[in-house]
């Protein structure tokens, strides 16, 4: 197989650069204490920019959870948490982290010990409980940034409430770090954050092209920096390089899958322990998952962020992220992506770990069917815990779904 030149050509060259950056980042994080630097554990939707500006190293238990899933260590660590008394119905990121922390488990020998925890509940209520547990376990201070849900919008009262908390957040960091915030640096970090998000969106947008130079499965991998190193020059440089590579691929006609005939949209978190299998399964049908609602969530609030006054715009930016919206607004976003990327069908991962992402999918599916007449495949699974995954069942469903898509014919062709 290694000799297949077409396959070699399809490999994304930036992958090795990304691995290098992530390795360096984790080494830096794990040796933080030796270098007199502080580590904060932070939720994936949390405001990382003030940490970067304060020279604190952000560490993401959710990113760790994804690595645990991809390394197929999820079952074991989830079972460890269950032995500690945590129900097997709880979010597997939380379970894997709670199971890994006391034994330094997982593919990188555990996360560095936190000096503080920063929890933003704009993604779910689970993180609030999870961070309470870890704050007690590590006996470190916890800051909660509470972002009221935007069921139908964001009220002025909510905006003021969150803005007040952003100020408290900075005060919290100043107290833990023992030095004042450098607002000039903060403004620079804010600009880099926005630039990084724009570049990430531009990378994702290259998939508008047929054939798409990258798939959602690639995006799941290249996402890591916009989550962990948002607000740094490293992330900006990396996405610039990745964008150039994607444009080059477009120029050379290189697609993410060998023969792209059908284009699909993925919803929800990846099934980390099965990404390769899934991508090959779809590719065998000539289908490419060209976009997803998950990786694009890290640039979903760009319209609310202001590069000239980042701090002031953070309140709304962090409150109006994808998972914090009502499902009708989520459906609007899905329809927007269906049109933008000209997809033929929707693949929804009904993820028993993640209630805010998954409950409501049936309604979104119905809205999409009514408004765009697109079929949906629902895959029952879990992002990290393989016990919730039945390969034969998923395979049968994918095959049946693709037969239906084929019978309809590709949407974009000849239209």
């Amino acid at each position: 197989m290694t000799g297949d030149p077409a396959r070699e050509r399809r490999k994304i060259r930036c992958v090795s650069r990304m691995k290098e950056i992530m390795t360096r980042y984790y080494i830096e994080a794990k040796t933080a204490a030796d270098n007199g630097r502080k580590v904060a554990w932070i939720t994936s939707g949390g405001p990382v920019e003030p940490l970067i500006a304060m020279d604190v190293i952000p560490v993401y238990p959710e990113n760790h959870g994804a690595m645990i899933g991809a390394a197929k260590m999820g079952r074991d660590l989830c079972e460890k948490a269950e032995a500690m008394g945590y129900s097997s119905d709880l979010c597997a990121y939380a379970r894997a982290d709670i199971g890994a922390a006391p034994i330094d488990g997982g593919p990188i020998g555990g996360l560095p010990r936190p000096d503080m925890l920063v929890c933003c509940n704009n993604i779910c209520g689970t993180v609030l409980k999870w961070y309470e547990i870890q704050a007690r376990a590590f006996d470190v201070p916890l800051f909660v940034l509470d972002t009221p849900v935007c069921h139908t919008g964001c009220s002025d009262a909510a905006r003021r409430y969150v803005a007040g908390q952003i100020r408290e957040y900075i005060g919290f960091l100043e107290a833990v770090c023992g030095r004042p915030m450098d607002y000039e640096r903060m403004a620079a970090v804010g600009r880099l954050s926005i630039e990084g998000q724009r570049l990430w969106q531009a990378v994702l947008d290259t998939a508008i092209h047929r054939p798409a130079p990258l798939s959602a499965f690639d995006a799941f991998f290249h996402l890591a920096l916009i989550v962990t190193l948002r607000g740094t020059q490293t992330a900006v440089d990396y996405y610039r390089e990745l964008l150039a590579e994607m444009r080059q691929r477009i120029a050379e006609g290189i697609g993410a899958v060998a023969e792209e005939r059908y284009r699909l949209l993925w919803d929800n978190l990846p099934i980390w322990y099965r990404t390769r299998w899934l991508s090959e399964r779809f590719a065998a049908h000539g289908a490419c998952l060209v976009a997803d609602t998950y990786t694009s969530a890290w640039c979903s609030s760009l319209p609310y962020l202001d590069e000239n006054d980042f701090i002031a715009s953070m309140a709304e930016g962090y409150t109006r992220i994808y998972l914090n919206l009502g499902i009708d607004q989520m459906a609007e976003a899905v329809i927007g992506m269906i049109d933008k990327y000209a997809v033929d069908g929707l693949v929804m991962h009904s993820n028993r770990s993640c209630k805010p992402y998954s409950l409501g999918q049936h309604d979104i599916q119905r809205i999409v069917a009514e408004r765009r007449g697109l079929p949906t495949l629902m895959i029952e699974a879990d992002m990290v815990d393989p016990r919730a995954f039945s390969e034969s069942q998923v395979e049968t469903r994918i095959d049946a779904f693709m037969e239906m898509i084929k019978a309809r014919g590709p949407r974009g062709e000849g239209a």
């Binding site: 945590y86 119905d89 939380a94 509470d146 009221p148 909510a158 409430y161 209630k355 409950l359 409501g360």
Partner: protein, 372 residues
């Protein structure tokens, strides 16, 4: 022997029949609420009847079209009741943001009910945040304004002030009953206790205050036989498993206290009548006994539970959880550990379908009580 006012049992058995009658008599709206954080005082001050929804027990048909199997029976059952028209008496519904499942239920409910009033009262998750109170006051006013616009009414300060007084009277009575329950276990059988609490979240609140006054007066003259059995605290979210009381009593125990959303957390918290009314109201919600979906510090839930159990001289704690209830299930290992450190044994029962769980409950509760 204590005789329960049959009104309580009647309302508890069929809250919606009561609501329909009330609506026919008064011509005023009936508003469903799904959580003890719904600001009932505002609904009542505007002339509406706040009606706490649990499930009617008719099952969860139709819920599958909207909700996956990994949502709790309350969320699924309530949605089914709504979709199947069993809640036709409601003129609107008020959600108060708590857990992730409720958050999405609110969206699904709203999309399925365009011709009814719908509101989300988004209380802070961090009830102790410095800005929580100012935000709380604003959200109460926003809610009152939205309610007023929809029903073409007005919640003025004086109506709210007198409703606040009424609620203080009600909750004060409920707390008095809780103290009696602790001091004289068995005085009010568990089944009756459940009926009172259920009715308290449904009844016309003026009539409720009067009925509770009468109940307290009648109880003052009653003496309970000395209780020698095991004293238990019941903790969890909603208690929709009436069988639990008879099982506990049958095994020689009594529930002497609870930490339930449909129990103490509803009764807890006086509204300061000397303070500006909106601020006082917001404060009550932010400071009352905290729900696990909210954050009031790292140890507050355990501290409070242990203090209550000690004060009630409890022999043990029974946690009654709904399957898939994230906030409670996350709290459990820590609460168990802290209770253990305090020398209090506990039992956790996770119920998929609480109304149909008598068998499962019996075996486990009996074994637990026997062990105490």
């Amino acid at each position: 022997m204590f005789q329960l006012d049959p009104l309580f049992s009647r309302i508890a058995a069929d809250p919606l029949a009561y609501a329909r009658q009330w609506k026919a008599d008064t011509g005023c709206p009936v508003i469903g609420t799904l959580c003890s954080y719904a600001p009932e005082e505002i609904i009542a001050a505007a002339g509406g009847l706040p009606l706490r929804l649990l499930t009617t027990g008719a099952g969860d048909q139709g819920a599958d079209a909207h909700l996956q199997a990994y949502s709790c029976s309350l969320v699924r059952g309530a949605l089914s009741d709504w979709l199947q028209g069993r809640l036709a008496a409601l003129d609107g519904t008020v959600f108060a943001h708590t857990c992730d499942s409720m958050q999405r239920l609110s969206d699904i409910w709203r999309l399925a009910s365009r011709d009814r009033f719908h509101a989300d009262v988004l209380w802070p998750a961090t009830v102790t945040a410095p800005g929580a109170e100012a935000y709380g006051v604003e959200l109460l006013k926003d809610f009152a304004a939205a309610y007023g616009r929809y029903f073409n009414t007005d919640v003025d300060d004086s109506a709210l002030t007198s409703t606040v007084r009424l609620y203080n009277r009600i909750r004060g009575r409920l707390r008095q009953l809780y103290a009696l329950r602790r001091e004289r276990p068995g005085l009010v059988p568990g089944r009756d206790w459940l009926a009172v609490m259920r009715a308290a979240m449904v009844m016309d609140r003026q009539a409720l205050a009067e009925a509770l006054d009468a109940m307290a007066a009648a109880l003052a003259e009653q003496s309970a036989p000395a209780f020698e059995g095991k004293r238990l605290v019941l903790a969890g979210g909603v208690c929709e498993a009436p069988a639990i009381y008879e099982i506990i009593e049958g095994a020689g125990g009594e529930v002497v206290w609870d930490d339930l959303c449909t129990g103490w957390r509803y009764a807890a918290g006086q509204i300061e009548e000397t303070e500006e009314v909106w601020t006082a109201l917001a404060r009550r919600y932010l400071r009352r006994s905290v729900c696990p979906a909210k954050h009031a510090g790292l140890t507050s839930r355990a501290d409070e539970l242990i203090a209550a159990a000690r004060q009630a001289q409890a022999d043990g704690v029974i946690f009654l959880y709904l399957k898939f209830c994230d906030p409670h299930l996350f709290d459990y290992p820590y609460l168990k550990q802290r209770l253990g450190d305090a020398g209090l044994p506990c039992l956790m029962v996770e119920l998929e379908e609480p109304r149909a769980a008598a068998g499962q409950l019996r075996t486990r509760c009996e074994a637990f009580i026997e062990m105490l």
